[in-house]
Symmetry: C2
Subunit: 460 residues, 2 copies
Amino acid sequence: MAMLNSLSGYPEWLPEDRIVEQRMLQIIQETFELFGFTSLETRSVEPLNVILSKGETDKEIYCLRRLHATEEEADKNLGLHFDLTVPFARYVLENRSKLTFPFRRYQIQKAWRGERPGMGRYREFLQADIDIVDSHPLTVQSDIEILQVMGRILSVLPIPTVNLHINNRKLLEGFYRALEIEKINEVLRLVDKLDKMGEEKVKLSLVDDLKLSPNVAAKCVELGKIRTSDGVALQEQVKGFNLSHPLLTEGLDELCNVLTVLNSTGSSNVIADLSVARGFDYYTGTVCEGKFADFPKYPTVVAGGRYDNLVSDRGVKLPGVGMSLGVTRILGLVLHEGLVQASRKTPACVLVALVSEQHRQQSFIIANLLRDRGIPCEVYPRADKYGKQIGYADGKGIPYVWFPSETGDNFGEVRDLQTREQVVADPKTWNPQEDKLRVTVVKNEEVYKSFLNSSKYSKK
Amino acid sequence: MAMLNSLSGYPEWLPEDRIVEQRMLQIIQETFELFGFTSLETRSVEPLNVILSKGETDKEIYCLRRLHATEEEADKNLGLHFDLTVPFARYVLENRSKLTFPFRRYQIQKAWRGERPGMGRYREFLQADIDIVDSHPLTVQSDIEILQVMGRILSVLPIPTVNLHINNRKLLEGFYRALEIEKINEVLRLVDKLDKMGEEKVKLSLVDDLKLSPNVAAKCVELGKIRTSDGVALQEQVKGFNLSHPLLTEGLDELCNVLTVLNSTGSSNVIADLSVARGFDYYTGTVCEGKFADFPKYPTVVAGGRYDNLVSDRGVKLPGVGMSLGVTRILGLVLHEGLVQASRKTPACVLVALVSEQHRQQSFIIANLLRDRGIPCEVYPRADKYGKQIGYADGKGIPYVWFPSETGDNFGEVRDLQTREQVVADPKTWNPQEDKLRVTVVKNEEVYKSFLNSSKYSKK
């Protein structure tokens, strides 16, 4: 084995941290499936022309090349995907004759970007996406459903509270058109940075760089400052500008509808935030960004929206809406800071001790009887002293140690390492305490509390 | 969206096929965990010097490069991993102070090889590995345990029967040393090809290329032809050569031990096959290859063995044993040929119909009540005629359609699309038939039978 290298931007977890990730993925997958989304995986690579057809992401792409490839080889035109939305759009077009529409899929896969690693930003990361794509126009109800799914996941995961900040591209575009702004996308991108750049800098940039009048720039910024969870208040505030455009009306109605339905169905933490625009050009209606409520300086952990034109090719155009959950980004905070932890380092519930080399068969039999009943266990590999075998179980957090009988007249005894109780037991009938059968994952409330007060991600 | 490209060697499944894959992965994962193996994921990329340190695989490696990278950038020295064993060895060395030994992990991830795609051979494929690595010497019991886990998985998966062909490198090496052969690895590699090349060609190559005497070559081939499931018969046949070497004795004893224990614990389909050697240089003891019993011409679907020196660096040396299941390779046969299929195309058990746009809230409420009770469902997106809504459910194989009441005095009725029964029901208490709640995956016995007789992978 050659020299070791730790690679920045390519996170790897220890076994106990991976258990936290697995538990989160299980919750995510179960919720997606409860809403009838079906799983999809696409290949990790796409032709560069597919990857580069969406947005300004070329600097971030990893290209592939066989080690001994010649210059002419086709492989050099492949790159690793940077998200799961573009590959999904490609997949739908390629397989549309075999799919039933509306097509509802989820996709949990790695993506890669050659960016400089930083706070919550990795070169290899795991995303969990859902999307609905239809061959008919989609109503705003699909946007609501996608938000409901993500809202439900975020409320069930053992992580800090996430607020969903929602907006609507039509509303923004209609507002800008009513103000006779031409560089819509450029204004969108600047307003999207209100949080990071601050009000004054955005205003300055709108005037200096995009040549808006100070009055118009001020209105764009004022609109972007609106934040409310109340549909009626939202209507009033936007109408207060006295601007009129069909897109503005349509977008405002959609946003109010989304807000009202989500509030009425118990999705808390939904906020209309008129600064949210999202970077990608392909969004056409509802857009959303979710951020940790208590750590506003940590980047967005979930995002997405409506795209009516992304899935299109030679006369076919399928509207879609979707959201993407940044699994690695969330773990980057909660695991690095120890906010969440697993109850043990292994799925094993029982360590079956080894009495002596001659008794090995007996340990194997006990272990297999337990496994046949769904109780995960492992056999200690050597006939070490019992103290050492118990120490091994303790170190991994395995709750029970089974000591096979040395005489062989019965199956021996099982010891609860926490209570120190030891009882004669039969692997065909013995049951662990219900809460000890499976490894569990919980918030570490103490660490969380002190982190809340000290964190560089918190509000000043 | 740019022009579509289908890429050879990068398989993608349709939703119903992905469900088969998911179900298989679930069985694999559950079994790994029953044996107390903990999950691990390593990054997809490794420094090229790590990748290239093991065996002759350089031609197959995909290197990474940022699209706009300069020549000097470090990124150009990264490649996608071609298996999960080498990254695992690197991970263990890098983290050995934080791990508890014996370290038992499983790893289910994609790997990439720039090979020419062919029968069961892909450029991107999914592997499921288990390994045990220890800081003490490992006994042959660990080899047996790894084989037990894989044997159990293969017997539970809804796939054609797989035979595990086992051998021992020490046995082969001892045998060759007793014959005073010097090019041990070269002979190993040729004997490993007995199945593909046939007896005569291997013999010829041993004599012509490796300069063995015809007598010695014949003995190597004779040894390689031994196949038996009986430990006693194995001892007799090998001893019949009247050769003696400590490694030969040790290897033969280990192989008999493995065979005897596996037979006695009910692992069927285990065969001592003295032609098996495995390509990689790092194996030092037990080696194993699993092949479909009825499709001997299809390549190996599971493989692995003991490696006592792979995990080593500057004075540290950790023995290990592991096996790798070729998930994509198995699916490449069973999905392509339709031998296995899912009961429906979606996790959804119920389609909640939409009466009219005004009744949408009602459909949402019914769906959420079902979801709260763990029943996966989706709401039809438009107020189409009921016939069309039923047709949609039918097309995806969703077993039930829920019709909300048009008057709103109750929750409406639910229809079983198979029995055509329709009953008044309450989403707070209604239950689907138990076998319809979750999508199931079964062997398609009819297809299987006709494939067995006609397949190009079958025996002549």
